[in-house]
């Protein structure tokens, strides 16, 4: 354990916590094939922690955020997590990214009793309170996203032939499960691509061949762009629907719009595509949360522009600060988990809908809204829709999202 | 000049040649390298094969060793028909060959080079080597002893620990010969053993080869007529892939066809 507490009013010293610091860690692909995009997430989180630290920290402690590169390779994740836990002695793991990567350290973190919060992945693995009582998801999982999209399509495109373009891992698989719950009979073709490939024309051509006039893509942004390029090549123009993960219109749209500057007359961007949202993005300039992120990034970010990946990192950091605030001035690892289980479900924050945290659930954001991409921004088509895994019903969210607190730092709840 | 150990050349003590190959025809695309060539190696005899460059001597050796496939050779071993040999089986069949180059293993010491040649005498298997069982250790020692003996026989045991590249050329030639001899062959095929050797070394080589013929049949290819004429009991001459003459050294030296095709007037000294 690092740093005992000299005033000794609580007696116990918690790993990673000193009088004036709390050390937390994370693993991200900062190099290699998965680095584009994802490597921006921790820079956003770091900016927000710096912002909090500059404003007095949490209960007087500054947050030391250590993130390490795993190059999206589970073997490396295991090594850097060892480093984080055994050498850097982090208090908690916050936001470690990737399903296979983070999957490799679930047990290790569990054995070492390290809280494992807000895994940056929509896999269902993180919601196993019985097996992994200290692991929590954060973002909306792919299944509920699929369900909500499926229901929307069933209502608004009930005659359409639907094709699926799926990443061949848990992302595509869970998403498919959700979509099929509503429009199974309408699906004419489900095409999978391996994330290691660089060519999705065969898949898109199969969708075209199957006559799909709506295509739902559970794709990461680069493959969203590739699928758009392939479609353009084949002159194929269905109604596109992309998962939130891959629909970063600011990113994908700008990537694609570059091609229209050249010899391509037929501007191809994500205009008119459908997607879902659980966070507001850079392009929603009027949104008070986005204004906060812009302020934070201006003050503590680098020279590079603010992106949705960075907003994701900041929002996650916000939730963690919120948790710390709620845990009180004497943070312990158990305390952290208890806080999330008891009050995490009521956290008001940057996400459009609340988390599903409870003693029985460690699942993240409970819902999304369906939106249409217009220019670089989105226009909501539905209210925020809430649901849960399995055959839970889809309901509309009643209350509106609260704006961020004045100083941009979540308050410690009264009573603590 | 000739120090024959016995009159084996004229009155063979055996009824059959040790090794006999008949009807060897080899074509490379349009080029006929050998046409209906036969070769017989008698025990206790040194048999020379000579001929102009590209006549097919090395190719004939390659057929005998199974490196080159001939069209329909018939092979006999002590008079019995056997299938054409395959290269890696030669050692076990009692056939050894030296190469026109040196063919020493650069990364192995001289002793190890020769130990590779003695590989066929090992008895223990993979497991005993893996676990370092006494059987494998004893085996290894036996092979080492054989190799050392072979090096001693050729008077090169002094450089057992050296690597071939660091040795003078004549010594390397001897090492290569030691590696062939350590497998205790019955038939020894020597491809240009004297090339690159100085006069003295060549003389020693000649004596050595004669000595060997007590123990085995030797077939020798070389362009040094002094050597060939002095050690061979019988000589076959190839030209353009055909046998143009066979006989004892004196006959061959006097054969006008051989002189025309191979020896030339001047060099015939």
């Amino acid at each position: 354990g690092a740093g005992g507490r000299p005033d000794g009013d609580s007696g116990g010293a918690e790993t990673g916590v000193t009088d004036d610091t709390i050390t937390i860690g994370a693993h991200f692909p900062l190099t290699g094939v998965a680095a584009p995009g994802y490597s921006e997430i921790p820079t956003g989180a770091k900016a927000y922690y710096d912002y909090v630290n500059a404003n007095g920290g949490v209960h007087g402690r500054t947050i030391e955020y250590v993130y390490r590169d795993d190059a999206y390779n589970p073997t490396n994740t295991s090594q850097v997590t060892n480093e984080l836990v055994l050498r850097d002695e982090i208090f908690a793991m916050v936001g470690g990214l990737g399903t296979p990567t983070h999957g490799a350290v679930l047990d290790f973190l569990h054995d070492n009793e390290v809280p494992d919060l807000f895994v940056s992945s929509g896999s269902l693995l993180w919601d196993q309170p019985d097996t992994y009582p200290m692991t929590f998801g954060w973002q909306s999982d792919y299944e509920i996203e699929g369900k909500i999209l499926g229901q929307y399509l069933a209502e608004h495109h009930s005659d359409a032939k639907i094709g699926l373009l799926l990443q061949d891992d848990d992302f595509g698989e869970d998403g498919e499960k959700g979509v099929r719950a509503y429009v199974d009979s309408q699906i004419v073709s489900a095409q999978r691509y391996a994330p290691t490939t660089n060519d999705v024309t065969p898949q898109v051509s199969a969708l075209k061949d199957a006559g799909a006039d709506v295509v739902v893509g559970f794709t990461v942004p680069s493959f969203t762009a590739l699928s758009q390029l392939s479609a353009q090549r084949l002159d194929y123009d269905p109604q596109w629907v992309y998962s939130n993960v891959g629909s970063d219109s600011a990113l994908v749209g700008s990537l694609l719009s570059r091609f229209s500057e050249g010899a391509v007359e037929d501007a191809s961007s994500l205009e008119g595509a459908l997607t879902t949202e659980y966070l507001s993005g850079v392009e929603d300039s009027g949104d008070p949360w986005v204004e906060l992120w812009q302020r934070v990034w201006e003050e503590h970010g680098g020279d590079e522009p603010l992106t949705n990946y960075r907003i994701y990192g900041m929002a996650q950091a916000y939730t963690f600060v919120q948790t710390l605030q709620a845990t009180g001035p004497e943070p312990t690892r158990e305390g952290l988990v208890e806080t999330l289980e008891s009050s995490g479900g009521e956290f008001a924050g940057p996400t459009l809908s609340p988390f599903r945290y409870s003693p029985d659930s460690h699942a993240g954001v409970s819902g999304v809204r369906v939106a249409e991409i217009v220019g670089e921004a989105t226009e909501p088509l539905t209210p925020v829709l809430l649901t849960d895994n399995g055959d839970a019903e889809i309901t509309e969210q009643e209350s509106d999202q609260a704006p961020p607190p004045e100083d941009g730092i979540p308050d410690a709840p009264a009573g603590n | 000049m000739r120090q024959r150990s016995g009159g084996s050349g004229d009155t063979p003590r055996e009824r059959h040649p040790l090794f006999q190959i008949d009807g060897v025809t080899v074509r490379f695309g349009g080029l006929t390298a050998l046409e209906d060539v036969s070769l017989a190696a008698w025990p206790h005899e040194v048999h020379g094969v000579i001929g102009p460059n590209g006549a097919g001597k090395t190719t004939l050796f390659n057929v005998c060793c199974g490196f080159t496939a001939a069209e329909s050779p018939s092979v006999r071993w002590r008079g019995d028909p056997v299938p054409p040999p395959r290269p890696h089986e030669l050692a076990a069949r009692g056939i050894a060959r030296t190469l026109q180059g040196l063919g020493l293993f650069r990364g192995l010491t001289v002793l190890e080079n020769v130990m590779v040649g003695a590989d066929r005498f090992r008895r223990s298997g993979f497991a005993s080597a893996l676990f370092g069982l006494p059987r494998s250790v004893a085996d290894e020692r036996a092979v080492r002893n054989r190799a050392q003996r072979a090096l001693r026989d050729l008077d090169v045991d002094g450089c057992a620990a050296a690597y071939p590249d660091s040795l003078p050329y004549p010594i390397r030639k001897r090492v290569a010969l030691a590696r062939a001899l350590v497998s205790e062959p019955e038939l020894l095929l020597l491809d240009e053993p004297a090339s690159g050797l100085g006069h003295d070394d060549m003389g020693e080589l000649g004596e050595l080869v004669r000595g060997l013929s007590d123990r085995m049949a030797v077939v020798l290819v070389d362009h040094h007529m002094d050597l060939v004429m002095s050690v061979c009991d019988r000589i076959t001459v190839l030209d353009f892939g055909r046998v143009i003459a066979t006989g004892g050294p004196d006959e061959i030296a006097a054969n006008p066809a051989v002189v025309r095709a191979y020896l030339g007037e001047e060099a015939h000294t």
Partner: protein
């Protein structure tokens, strides 16, 4: 350097290859020790000696493949001591290396073309389009094929398929095609049939007699080498132990028995 044909070689000895005090080592091993010798144009100089005497080393130093640790190599008035091998070759010194001088992956014709290319480069460098060296009987591919008929049939074959002797012929032919002023031959008789050896030696003699070619001939086969050479040099343990007229050497019984073994 541009000597004319009718210069009797003996009158201008400085036009050949001169080696002064040449010393070379392989690490601690002294392979050449203050070697002096001259290979004048129009002459064959035989370098003899037992295995390991340093003959190959001498040729490698001359052709620039090995840096000498002392002494100098002069071609005519030109100092080649520290020139790179390619520059030595372009200056007109062709070497037929011991053993593997064939580029086995190329065809016979391509190997020969490389020699011809060097010849062309040299004549271009001479400026006026005339060959840099006096005309030699071997100036194009047909000449080589006339000299070595067995190569012609294998012209498009990969050199890899050649027999040992055929390779040796190929390397010789290639060196001749480069129209050299000085020809360094490292055991050219190696692996060749007696008749071919005799032919090659006769051709060498012819080339030399026809004009300015200087030949430095390294041979194990001292007897036949001395029979065509003008001068003989005997090396032993990296040192010149004798240097004189070829016929005188051949007649010197003591020397013959001590170093030449015949």
């Amino acid at each position: 350097m541009n000597s004319t044909l009718d210069d009797p070689p003996t009158e201008r000895p400085e036009t050949g290859l001169r080696i002064r005090g040449l010393t070379a080592r392989y690490g601690p091993v002294l392979a050449l020790d203050e070697v002096d010798l001259t290979a004048p144009r129009g002459q064959i100089t035989a370098v003899l000696g037992a295995n390991g005497a340093g003959k190959t080393t001498l040729l490698r130093v001359v052709s620039g493949l090995l840096r000498p640790s002392g002494g100098e190599v002069l071609l005519g008035s030109r100092n080649l001591t520290d020139s790179a091998a390619e520059d030595v070759a372009r200056a007109g010194v062709a070497q037929v290396p011991e053993g593997r001088g064939v580029i086995t992956e190329l065809t016979v014709e391509e190997n020969l073309r490389l020699g011809a290319l060097l010849g062309a480069t040299r004549s271009r460098a001479a400026g006026d389009g005339t060959p840099a060296a006096p005309p030699v009987p071997v100036s194009d591919l047909p000449d080589v094929f006339a000299l070595f008929p067995s190569l012609e049939r294998r012209r498009r074959q990969s050199a890899h398929s050649l027999s040992g002797g055929e390779r040796q012929m190929l390397v010789l032919g290639r060196a001749l095609l480069s129209a050299p002023e000085v020809l360094l031959l490292d055991e050219p008789s190696l692996g060749l049939a007696p008749k071919v050896v005799a032919r090659i030696f006769a051709v060498l003699r012819e080339l030399v007699d026809a004009g300015g070619l200087a030949v430095l001939l390294v041979e194990q086969n001292a007897r036949s080498a001395l029979s065509i050479a003008d001068t003989g040099v005997v090396l032993n343990l990296g040192r010149v132990v004798a240097c004189s007229d070829a016929s005188a050497l051949a007649a010197d019984d003591e020397l013959r028995h001590a170093y030449l073994g015949f």
